[in-house]
Symmetry: D2
Subunit: 310 residues, 4 copies
């Protein structure tokens, strides 16, 4: 096991690496790129790395399916941190290249929808071919295979490229969310501004099952920040649901909701409680604070002793 | 305090006394009538009696308001047993009286709707006047004030009266439910066929409050057997709700629902868990058994240790 | 039929008469007392009177069962108006009587809980006996049967009595609600501040039925102002629910909820839409105004023509 | 406009073409491949084709995002038919190639997860490179760029290739769902076994909004067959929901639910009602048939005339 090694979706120069470097502890770790999300997570599973940073959600493209599916299936892993990174692309070219010289461009497939309009306006005749990653695209430009690569501006120096344009993005506020994943262990300590992730499988052929899932949260006043369906692979219409809920598993309203779901779902996977990157404190509806849960438990004990009114 | 004394809504010869005598422990207790439901319950509060049997619900007239209000307000009491008694009246008369002789009849006001049709058919010209209780009516017939009294057939010998007709009731299956009330203490032991009674006050001016109350039960799979609104006395439209739920306070689904209601209601009064008189076992929806609650709690503990999948 | 005759729960001098006289149209009608709520309502059913004013709800005692049951069962009637009357009692005595002279008092049973504390404080030794109505109690005082009667102060002159004390009431804001009932016809015209009354029977042995009833209202944004259970007479635990909802049957959110309930309930009885006595305008949740209902219906029509986006 | 021309996600030899050929009307249409889902749908929008068949959901990979996003945004289109196609791959090679000769394989990225295990077992050392479509992969094998292509067996003759293995799929019952999309018009006629598709946007920052969306369906007894979230592109956590509901827009329970959602959602897009490929008739919960809706509307009319009991 290598407690000092963190891996990330590489190669060097990707947005994932940039996101990882925003974490203070990254400064004291060996940072090693992996060739894919599964490779990064397997490195954690096998102990080659103690943690992996991988993208999990993109405000333009939605959930990153490979990450979601890897976390939902196979040997369990847990999320300990999240990082939000605004996404803006630079068009990286070899020094001396002008816009008129750019006939072919590349980048990760996920970059394409974010640069589509810029391309249509500035390089309507350029041919796009996908690369395995944005950084890989930059490397291919360095090697002369393409004229330009869309990547983070920070990737330029690494591949001796220069930005011909920067801050390119279709959607204002385009953001990618990354998670730091490790082997299962104690959840991150609660901060008052936390998020809890889990995956729930529902009973087959039970039309109201999703409604029941939401009610387990609603009745305990737990807000859902994200819910995304993923096929279970067992046939059309068979889904599991990945959920991010406001609050920490040690918050009583959250733990009671999770236990409620454990009782009614054939399968539940807890993916971790961790600080929200935006540090927004949880909203606590009246009647759902830990103090109120404790007060209710005390009252119940008194009822069992015939002293419910005291 | 008189642990050996039970009181009941008297006088002697009422249905309440008949109901009390169906309880095995009544055979070894001193049974003392009280003049009213408040008097019976106050005898328990002051310690003159260790328990009181009072009617709480009638299948024809609904909840007995005096009992409901006494249990909801004032010094707390608890329900330990319930008794169901089919209600059928006899027309009790002095020996020798014939139907043609009966010009005036009496009985408790609650008896009237149950004998109305019989009267219309057999004694269309008889005058009805209300008595304080069915047994009191019988006494007034003995004293010659009225010609006939509607009461339980068992009251006849007590007042030297004879039944001119019996098994009189308007509604087939007319039943009264009585409860044995004592000072607060440990609830009756669970039997697997139990009922839990409580009163809930809701937030003023919160239209969805009753829906939320029901959802606290529904989400834990607890069936409600009875819900009845009572004014709080604080103005029109201000209600509290008396509820009988299936199950025992020591059932996890019931206790979690009660605690949920304690958190969202400004006031809750637990009135007891006790064996159902009909001995029908509770229906336990999948996911709501004690074993499943325990399993969920164990899973949560493991999640907190990073072993949620084991 | 006597369109010009209104009846009310008599005798003369009751609160009901006082309530009826607050209605402007009462000035031009012949007002005739009835001996009981059923008698008043039967007078309407047979056409002897065109309308009857009867009490339906009391902020201290709750729903008036006889009125609720008469409206829920038997030949249909409808509510066209409501009247709210603050309830305060006077102790009426024969001229010359002093407080020290008062040994026996009377009044309607419903008056007792409202004067109990006053009695305990000022006349702790006086005996209470119930009368058929507050006005009847006054008459019995006039006849010398009792020393004092609790009734509305307005009843004094009618029976040549004087108030020894006034404004007696236990609960501040004690109020009784009366309804003006007629044969079924077009509901009162909508005013923007209306109330709709109905009675719903639920499926036997369906624990979630009340929750479903409430959800039919909630999903259309209709607030409930009152819900009260009444036994159906078919056995313990068999209830129907009397409901007062905010809004008028011609409001789309109300009519859709009523139709939804008609579909899921084995029986529904519409009791009328009529102006709220307090004239508080209905709160209309976003998405539930008539304009939004019409907009949605227009959109649906366009969808059926393939023009849903226009 | 070319009413006789249908397009599909090409090139020739894809599963989409195979799916399109299962539709009887395809036999009399000119079938033209498009290079991408957006290109196919744009051909419909511009009138070059009267309909396009595109994949929308895969039991292994989930919703096809490009199709979902194209239908949710941009100029409106509607779904008129669906086709289900079991997915099984053949490994297509040039005649004479043996398994030992296969060093490089290709196929559409979506094919990879479905052949992964087969590859690990039979060709653990083969290199995978993605192609633009399965058929395109076959063409590249024909041209000698790769040794084998995973595609539908039906694509073999088109590219003069032979199957070295067939019926390859990781998940048993792997199925892709395709939809036939046209310009907006009258929905397909109801068959009793129909499906309705729509996209709903929810209010920002309203945690209970998804629960409300589900309740609009649940309260009218409409089952959801699929619900999938898609980012709106306006930032993390901003989602719209694509829904497939059981039933036809002309079913009253479906139309009332759609209108309810139109009222509470800031935006709704109706995508069509069309026959279910599996021809399973809709389950109609008691109280939600068209006859019961009509009965309730008739009752409401009678209530407005004072004849609610007839």
């Amino acid at each position: 096991m290598s407690p000092n090694r963190y891996t990330y979706l590489g190669p060097e120069g990707t947005f994932t690496e940039a996101a990882l470097r925003t974490l203070p502890e990254a400064a004291t770790r060996e940072l090693v790129p992996s060739v894919s999300v599964p490779a990064a997570l397997d490195a954690v599973r096998t102990g080659e790395a103690s943690a992996a940073l991988v993208p999990i959600e993109n405000s333009v493209e939605g959930g990153i399916r490979q990450t979601m599916d890897e976390l939902a299936q196979g040997e369990p892993l847990m999320i300990y941190r999240e990082v939000l990174l605004p996404i803006a692309f630079a068009l990286l070219v070899r020094p001396g290249t002008t816009l008129a010289d750019v006939k072919t461009v590349t980048g990760h497939p996920a970059a394409q929808p974010q640069v589509r309009h810029w391309l249509a306006q500035h390089l309507p005749n350029a041919d796009w071919e996908s690369a395995a990653s944005n950084a890989d695209g930059a490397r291919l430009v360095q090697e002369g295979r393409y004229d330009g690569a869309f990547a983070g501006e920070f990737a330029g120096p690494l591949y001796h490229l220069e930005p011909l344009a920067a801050e390119i993005h279709d959607a204002a506020n385009a953001t990618t969310r990354f998670v730091l994943v490790g082997r299962p262990g104690r959840p991150s300590a609660p901060t008052g501004a936390d998020k809890t992730s889990a995956v729930f499988w529902l009973e087959d052929d039970h039309p109201g099952a999703l409604l029941e899932l939401l009610q387990e949260f609603a009745v305990r006043g737990v807000n859902l920040m994200r819910i995304e369906s993923r096929p279970t692979g067992e046939g059309l219409g068979k889904y599991c649901f990945a959920v991010d809920a406001e609050g920490h598993i040690t918050d009583r309203r959250v733990s009671e909701a999770l236990m409620g779901l454990h009782r009614i779902c054939p399968q539940v996977r807890f993916l971790g409680s961790y600080p929200r990157a935006d540090a927004v404190p949880a909203t606590v509806r009246p009647g759902t604070s830990d103090a109120e849960f404790t007060g209710a438990a005390d009252w119940l004990s008194r009822c069992l002793d015939g002293r419910g009114e005291q």
